[in-house]
Symmetry: C2
């Protein structure tokens, strides 16, 4: 039973690594530009602190996941893995939430604050950010399930 749990957990970890890699690649390569009234309007993930936090969060969680797969073969480290799984879950939930909040304003704008939506001008940017956010969301959900597996094994 413990062996099946470990195999299932490692399959989920591989999926989480894939999801974080997709999220990082699509977010980092999401630049686009448009001409608005003779002015060039450029959209880049690095202009938005929340998107930078998203990339850093996904990178840390993805990197840790690779290490956790290697560590999972040494039963000595299971306590530290449960703790770090918890940190990774919180980090992923936090980074996807911050990025989603900004993406929502980018898509719909905020009438009361006078912030106009930007997706009409830079659709290529928004499409790639959408894929990155979907992958980031998948990574967060997968990590939640990984943490559940770890807790189930412990409890």
């Amino acid at each position: 039973m413990a062996k099946i749990n470990k195999i299932f957990s490692n399959i989920l970890r591989l999926l989480a690594v894939a999801a974080t890699v997709v999220a990082i690649v699509f977010m980092v390569t999401s630049h686009d530009s448009a001409q608005v009234l003779n002015l060039t309007f450029t959209a880049k993930y690095s202009y938005t602190p929340a998107f930078k936090f998203f990339v850093v969060g996904e990178a840390i969680a993805g990197g840790y996941t690779v290490i956790s797969i290697l560590l999972s073969f040494k039963t000595l480290f299971w306590r530290i893995i449960v703790f770090l799984d918890m940190v990774a879950t919180v980090l992923l939930a936090s980074s996807i939430s911050a990025a989603l909040a900004i993406a929502q304003v980018g898509k719909k704008g905020s009438t009361h604050a006078g912030w106009l939506p930007v997706c009409g001008q830079v659709p290529h940017f928004c499409d790639r950010v959408t894929v990155a956010l979907l992958a980031g969301f998948a990574a967060a959900v997968i990590y939640f399930v990984i943490l559940l597996c770890s807790l189930y094994a412990v409890l």
Copy 2:
């Protein structure tokens, strides 16, 4: 040792309830308005989906915390409490991150997206939102420690 852990955990839970109540009260009562070029500019938490999510997240976490204090006296429920503590931690981290991302744009604006900062016009709104976010951040940190205590007791 287990008794000390439970007392410490319940003190932290009371602090978490206090922090979520402060966060909700300050966020909900944060409206302000200003005259800009003969137009009335109104700022309200409910105009921003991220701030609404923040209030809902704090309310759910705060409500659960009250119930968890009562349940903690029945040792029968400790497994479900560890699981729900995990959910509450993720929910609090998620809601504070989304709200912080929007607050950062409200304070500094986003030059590249053409979103102007609003705190100059509605300082009273921003001050109250700042207090709400500090309380929400405190609630998330307290919950992280509560979850650590729960895991420590389990492991």
